[in-house]
Amino acid sequence: MPRLNAARKHTIDFTLNGKAVSAEAENRMLLSDLLRHEIGLTGTHVGCEHGVCGACTVQIDGKPARACLTLAQQVRGSDVRTVEALAPDPAVLSPLQAAFRRHHGLQCGFCTPGILMSLDALLREQPDAGREDIREHLSGHLCRCTGYATIVEAALAAAEEQRKEETPNA
């Protein structure tokens, strides 16, 4: 990590959703602000700025992380993934996203991107995740609209679908 100077901006080179990005930011700028207001990817939402609500969750090197508790400078050289990267194609939803739509796993949609990023990481690392695993990972997120049940159902359906796809002969 180079020595940083509070009085000026520094260049941050990192990978964002599979593409190399170079951005300029002050030391104190949050990753959430860099993504949203400097780069313009507004899919990552900010709900509390103190790490409780989980709306800002992104993946840094594959792991879910709170963008509001991460300084932009901390992602130098990292691989950052946001909700904008989940769908394989702009007109096609990922299996997890499609399950959310099918099971009404969202209402206002504000907390949803963070939840998707957590569950996406869970289902990748733990393809056999069951209800309790999903609930545990979801417990790092606050949703004020749904009462959570439909989110759990959506995640279970997506996990099931993913398992079927991976073992087509089973």
Binding site: C48, L106, C108, P113, S139, G140, R144, G147, A149
Partner: protein, 991 residues
Amino acid sequence: MTRLEMTGALVGRTVERVEDAGLLTGRGRYIDDLPVRRDTAHMAILRSPHGHAGIRAIDTTAARALPGVFAVMTGEDVARLTRSMTVGVKANVECWPIARDRVRYVGEPVALVVAENRYVAEDALDLIDVDYETFNAVVDPEKALAADAPVLHPSLGSNLINERTFRYGNPEAALAEAAHRISIRIAYPRNSCTPIETYGVIAEYEPGEDAYDVTANFQGPFSIHAVISRALNVPGNRMRLRTPPDSGGSFGIKQGVFPYVILAAVAARVSGRPVKWIEDRLEHLTASVSATNRVTTLEAAVAADGRITALSWDQLEDCGAHLRAPEPATLYRMHGNMTGAYAIENVAIRNRVVLTNKTPTGLNRGFGGPQIYFALERLIHKIADELGLDRLDVIRRNLVPANAFPYRTATGGLLDSGDYQTALDRACAEGGLEALRQRRDAARAEGRLYGIGYAAVVEPSVSNMGYITTLLTPEERAKAGPKNGAQAVATVAIDPLGSVNVKVASVPQGQGHRTVLAQVVAERLGLAMEAVRVNTELDTARDAWSIASGNYASRFAPAVAGAAALAADRIRSKLATIAAGQLNITADRIDFRAGKLVDRDNPDNAVSFGRVAAASHWAPSTLPEGTGQTIRETVFWTPDQLQAPTAADGINSSLCHGFIFDFCGVEIDRATGQISIDRYVTMHDCGRILHPGMVDGQVRGGFAQAVGAALYEEYAYGGDGSFLTGTLADYLIPTVMETPEPLILHHETPSPFTPLGAKGVGEGNCMSTPVCIANAVADALGVEDIRLPLSPSRVSEWLYGEERPRTAPQNAAPVATGASGERMLTGSGSAEVTATRQSVWAMLLDPNTLKAIIPGAHEVRKVSDTHFRAEVTLGIGPVKGRYRADIRLSDMVEPEAVTLSGGTEGALGSGCGTGRVTLTETATGTRIDYRYEAAIGGKVASVGGRLLDGAARVVIGQFFQALARHAGGGGPPSAAAGLIQRLVALFRRRR
């Protein structure tokens, strides 16, 4: 339900939402995502750290000088360009969106900064110097009425801002004649359904036209638009208000963004550029809006069989520091249904509204329902218990009979439809009440704490815009002119290619309005849902709207969707006439099916929808005589049933009245006091269901918020007005782990008063669930005075009594957490130094010395000979904060004695204290004696008292140690060390 799932029908089916693809892929357009002009600046708000204080002076010089700052404004600057916001009652009181000479709640705006970005704007806030004179605060509504209570608004003379009494039937006689009079007193706490997206505003000002253009994630009601325009001193057409395409939840709360619309609008005018403000979470919890807290005494006249003949309500409503529009609406929203689901003919009501040093209240899901049903349904349980009757029987005996609808309540409400008995019986049977009772009995047989609770409530929806005028006397109303109705508006338009656009003034925040409207309109026009596109953004300069527009009072399904159906029907009727001419049949034989207008008796005789629909654009002269255009139909719909209050104060406050019957089983952990909801059954009659998936989504969402209100959530205040739940780590919102899955049942009795037969459904569980859980807890514990939230510590108090103080008294100065909520500290000590009295005296008056000896001081400034200001950083345990200290000297007897009094304030809390220092000549120099008392308030005071007391002693000790070191300067090191050791020893002894 099968009726709703007919082939070809769209309404009543759980279709996928059209909103979701964008929201799931990060393409939502919430307010903070919208593009803004390149010269847009950002606003930050300096807020009061005090619950109640006078503003002596505000110094903004340093903030203005900071590079990147465009404007700094105080309350006086804002007041010069605006007028006080309209207050809903007749009272000599002003209501400003920013404090002027006095702050009345923690978080009240005090100054605004507009800067190139939010980071710089917040830097500038730190440079604003406010000189406060703190006053006593009052946060308890009953104490606020005491004769010696601090008065928030001197012009008002007291804190009581409105009082009215009402009488329906003959309640006095019913109470006098009753076999039993049974009453209950409850205090309902403050909470908020706080959405995950906070407030946001983007404002512009066009000086050439003296016009404002503001985009805000406001939710309505748009009657507030009039309040904003008046405050900004412009006609309504120069206050353009728009809403973004998406909004991240509201639950009523985003009604409360309107004072910030005014502030951002003025900030844009002053700074000469667009101004954007996004509220942060700390601001939101501290200073947005919440539900009211209310103290209620409810008495019932009861016959021997449990039949209630009269209710007497005494409600004391706490609306916080200002009565902001539309308050005191929370108190009057339920006025037509103060008898709940019961047929009770005599009612007396005394309503008082009081102001306290808390954040002003506003809309919140359930709006008035949780407060009244908590009293009413707790009372029903109590009546059954006192009379030795079965609780469910008492509910049954009092329900409005199924053959009585539409039923006029004593207070003037008109219950539209229902079959409460059948709904209740079905809930008990299908929800497994008998099995639950056996479960309770089995648990109790094992010595476990288990209880069952019930709640039967009426869920009002589609508010009568005139209900708030019930608080005026009939004479005042006659003078002011009647207010009533609930205008809903929808536009259906056909474009030149024959596709359909729908526009409504509904402003959803996640409820799926676009989907349901596409279902409703597509079904009526015989189209696929995809052929209909819905826009729910609102622009007051361009769209059809009225004061009732917006998304509140659960009005979408009954009112807005109904208006869209009526607009679609108008177009349909005209299109049928056109097609009839083309098909050479009469219009009544035309069916709309699969994109075609079809001769019902000869399906081959058909014409495509697009062809008929586009005729108005391409060939208007071919339309039959008298058809008019088919391009656009706008329907304004208001129901006749919503009339102004009668001369006898009768008011039908809502158009629709759904019914809910809930029951639940809870178990309480005897060791920890933790409550777990074992089973929850909720039966709803919300009339005709338009989208079953969304209805259940509303029920589950409301239920989860109600579980939070029952078990975890409270906007807690210290006695000094400090706000104690300013983060989501303090204000506990249920996660998935704390949210059980309720069994949801439906019993549909369509409303005869709405176009689609639908009633509202969004708020019901916020009304029924808190009291249902409370009743179950009362059943488990046998405790009458159940207070929310039912935290483990509170439940433990009921189980084991209050926590006792430690048996062995601590060898320390007494620490009292006074009624004020502040922690009091006292102490004394002395030190011997080699310097003369005169030189010690001089040190105490010298800013440079003070800077050296005040622990953590960055800067000490001499304001006058007897007034100093210091900036200090103090760490108390893990909590490190920057504080601003104000020190004044008084009772000076040079060089013998001086009193230092001062206060300190920072984001984490505040402290104040006085210390008397006396200097006595000794043989070797001077003895410094001191005694002090200090009070610490705010968030830091709630963090951990013992830690804080110790830390405060250390800090005060360090000050005198440093003074002694300074005064003994030049002495041999060993002597100095000895002195410090003596001082430390002294402190230990004094503790």
